[in-house]
Amino acid sequence: MFKAAAAGLRPYSETGPRPHTSLYPVVSEGTWLEKNNYAQFDGWELRQLINFVAADDGVPEPEIIIEVLKGCRNNNDYALATRFLEVVRLKGGNKMSETWPYIMQEIGPTMQELGISTLKEMGYEEPELWLENVDDM
């Protein structure tokens, strides 16, 4: 880590201040997860974070996903947890069949602990209802 810093490289998490930093005090210095305690985020801040995750070019790591799900649990918002899982799944893009099973493997225990049912059980891996597109009316 220090050698990389000497060479001018730095990890993606330290490229700059992220807007989704919380109003709550920093837990301790260290990795990005320890700096931003996502589990204590407000409902408003969690939604901001999820919007930025959707805008970022990459699939979030399982540790961050677990923290966000715990944040949803603390805010008593079940719908937000499913929406976040949908976002994580679709972030895989063409490699969805490779990334999604791995992520389900990693976060399966926490999901069972919290009581969140998987997208397959909810039936949200395929479209459920049909809506007419506004551009085609």
Binding site: L46, Q48, N51, N76, R83, M122, E125, P127, E128, D136
Partner: protein, 212 residues
Amino acid sequence: KQPIWVAPSRNIALTSVNRDAPATTGSKAVLPGHEYYPGKEEYSPVIGHREIVGHGEIPYYTDSFTVPCPAIRFREVDEALGKLREKEKGDWKLLSLEDKKTLYRASFNSTLEEVRAPSGDWKRCIGDNAILMALMFLGVSVIGFADPQYEPKTVTNEWVDAQTEYLIKRRVQPVDGIASWYDYENNKFKPTWSIFTTKETSKSVKTLSEKE
């Protein structure tokens, strides 16, 4: 001295809306189970009795992959929904699948898979175009040719008879064509010609066949 840039406050953005539409009385009483979010009564002419859950100057709802979590929930506040929210505060393992689906549809209009689903509009486009092309062909073939003004003169019997007389006199196409079907000894068409004549044989054909 430079003017200070002040962030626009909510009241500035909302007064234009209040002037146009009559202000409906927002629900001041919060139904049990739902939390109070600041500015709920001010925004009711814009969004109705929906909870504000995110940042946004004037919140609106959209379904999109780039903005998956909009600033307001989709459905309005209800008593049945309030009871569900109380249940949501407890253990999530006690929620049934239907409860979970109603909670999702209360916050969001459609899932992200439904946003990605194809609409099938190309079928309508091709179908409409096919109908219009069929109407055009119908018009040209039936209406366009019905008027004798639009009939070409080369189709009339007079023209065709004069044409055949000329061709036979000039003995064109003697091998495979018209001159090979005409019997110049007896001055009439060979029997194979009968395929192409109408029931009433035209004048020139009669005269040609009756010549010496």
